[in-house]
Symmetry: C2
């Protein structure tokens, strides 16, 4: 491939970056896709890895395997250490890239609201390593309870707190309740997993705030039916080794999982552009960076308003942004300089609440319960397209459904934070 | 369960310890099974996890799930810190156990022949964590090669050395050659995975020394056909960050895997009994500890002679020893005090050498090639019994066979030794 072809650098191999690369298939350009992981991750099912329902490789595939036939793409596993907009250069750990076009799609993590020291005791769920760390903590908590004689200390191992009532928090809490009530039944001789308390803490007035209030109420009832205690209007004011504090109340819990807030990738701060409160870059209507028509920001790192409300930070939006920018650059390369504003098409929202319960919202249509769960299951298996894992995922789920077992209940690795569990 | 029942403590949930526990189903006793992992591991397929063919949960299952219906067993995830034979006590990290019968089945690891400092640069393959660490190193090596401009340094990333020509070493080397020649084809733009050199180093005169010399020769030819360089009669004299030394020869290699030697579990040294050179306990014909008829040693930790040759340290032998000791104790509990010597029944040996090649030895019958591979495949899927994973494993292999892809090519976790990869 002649070096004279324009060089498009894409930072991030998530839904945004990967769909941009794919939309540029066949374009007369050299594309370099950089990600610090070697894999694309199907993030909507990450909570299933964290709760031992799926194995890590079932929801991830190597980026270079996905893109092997797209000969204009080079994949690099590396981290970005700096962006020089004036020189049009990106510095990686191991090399430097000069670009003609730059796409920044490095996503977002959870926000600890100024308390980053909580991260060690309350891990978030964004990467496979996060999911495996959470799986290790949750499974180890029940093991420790089995060996703890003191009733109060035992209960602290059986108290699991999930902070944040969005889709991830609801999915985690619902699945943890199922594990305690069903999966582990009969496996312990001293502790009783059904004595576990799963607590879902949300600072706002309802769970699933992105959904219709009617569905929020239904989701809460489904969670409570599974045995989850839902605490609304409570903000966490402290997290430490032994538990959490909610205002004046202290809850002893050795396992706290964090699913609250959004903190955009720190790379946004290097783009010399206004940011919103979560650190997202306020982009132009075509997703371009203000003052730099050769730079685009997409996915969870981009802050985009549409019809007076923000485009949500969800996988379909990131995917659509990637397709938009990919097509836009392909058009520019053909000499077509029209400005095409990005339009988000809401394909509907789904959230699952444990086994056979979910809520769904498609335009004006809202439904919940078993039907919503089947739609959720079908949609997620469908969107695992591009992975060869669909059949294995389906099998895992079919087995989990019939046997109530969870096949990935394996404790591996040491705790990142070196804490004695 | 009344506390007056005799207490049988089993240390180790591998093939030996688990089969002993199962053989004691229904026995009038309290059984406590201790393992530092929460899972039983199907070790014969561990190399498949290390080489990204299978996911970790496909070859492991929680011990308490396997034993959930056996009500006389309590499973503890803990580590043994001491054994007091006189007081009949085992000290764990978190509690102390008094026993009436003790079964020690804590297995063996690889031996670095007095060079334990090599472990950081040449990881062995005994646990799931080991396998995931090797997977991370191997996959990362190709990623680093893609970003290395200097030809010599790039080649050092593409040189992979496997030390030890036993079954594990042969399986690793054969699979690595397939990954380089087939799996990764077309996925890299700068480095060429087919430039990888896979080197298998064995100090002895042939690979697979436990097999018939004819099969050793066939295995070597099959390895060479796959592109593996086999070096016989070469002992490794040094391992460091940049490679290995074989006597006078220096080989630059950033990835070295260790599959040589046997070092029995250090618990053997606490048993106040003679040990063999590998640290295995020299037991009585019934697997009892000399001078302690209430203590048994089984699996890879036991050194047993039969008809003038040692019982091999393989999974079927450990399983048979567990069944023997379990039945023996069950008989004693019924008042039957006959001494039953252990007899190993050799069900045959199999080793695989990459895709569709293997060697097999059943009594006087010896064969190799495709037929041996099919027998190997069938036997291993069959012996995954007790795992619900057989179907998933079969699917993974069927997919890998047709597509030459490997579905678990996911890099997770940081390197245990903190080395910059």
């Amino acid at each position: 491939m002649p070096a004279a072809l324009p060089h498009i650098v894409i930072l991030g191999g998530g839904f945004g970056g990967l769909s941009a690369a794919r939309a540029l298939a066949g374009a007369p350009a050299r594309i370099t896709l950089v990600d610090r992981h070697n894999h694309h991750l199907f993030q909507p099912l990450l909570y299933q890895v964290a709760t031992a329902g799926l194995s890590a490789p079932s929801i991830a595939a190597p980026l270079r395997q996905i893109l092997r036939h797209q000969r204009n793409v080079t994949v690099l596993m590396d981290e970005v250490t700096g962006i020089d907009l004036a020189q049009r250069r990106v510095q990686l750990t191991r090399e430097r890239l000069d670009y003609d076009w730059l796409l920044v799609a490095t996503g977002a993590a959870h926000a600890y609201f100024g308390h980053d020291d909580w991260a060690g005791n309350a891990p978030g769920l964004k990467s496979l390593d996060d999911a495996l760390a959470i799986r290790r903590r949750v499974l180890t908590a029940f093991e420790r309870a089995e060996q703890e004689d003191d009733p109060a200390r035992r209960q602290a191992w059986l108290n699991l707190v999930v902070v944040g009532g969005g889709a991830t928090g609801v999915e985690l809490a619902g699945t943890l309740a199922e594990i305690a009530r069903h999966t582990l039944t009969g496996e312990f001789r001293r502790a009783q997993p059904r004595d576990a308390n799963i607590l879902l803490v949300e600072a706002g007035p309802r769970v699933l705030p992105a959904f219709d209030p009617v569905l929020s109420a239904k989701a809460q009832r489904q969670l409570e039916h599974l045995g989850v205690q839902v605490r609304l209007g409570h903000a966490v004011t402290a997290v430490d080794d032994d538990g959490v504090t909610l205002g004046g109340e202290r809850i002893a819990a050795r396992t706290v999982l964090w699913a609250a807030g959004v903190a955009a990738s720190p790379l946004g701060r290097q783009l010399d552009a206004p940011l919103d409160r979560a650190g997202r870059v306020l982009v132009q209507p075509d997703l371009g960076l203000p003052g730099h028509s050769e730079v685009f920001v997409l996915g969870d790192l981009a802050s985009v308003q549409q019809d007076g409300s923000p485009v949500p930070g969800v996988a379909p939006a990131a995917k659509q942004m990637g397709e938009h920018v990919g097509r836009l650059i392909a058009a520019r390369l053909r000499g077509d300089t029209r400005v095409l504003p990005f339009r988000y098409r809401d394909a509907g929202s789904l959230a699952t609440i444990g086994r056979m319960a979910a809520v769904a919202q498609f335009g004006r249509l809202r439904f919940s319960g078993l039907l919503a769960w089947w739609v959720w299951l079908g949609a997620h298996i469908w969107f695992l397209i591009g992975f060869r894992n669909r059949l294995v995922v389906l099998l895992d789920w079919a087995m989990a459904y019939w046997t109530q077992a969870r096949h990935a209940r394996i404790i591996t690795g040491a705790d990142r934070h070196g804490r004695e569990r």
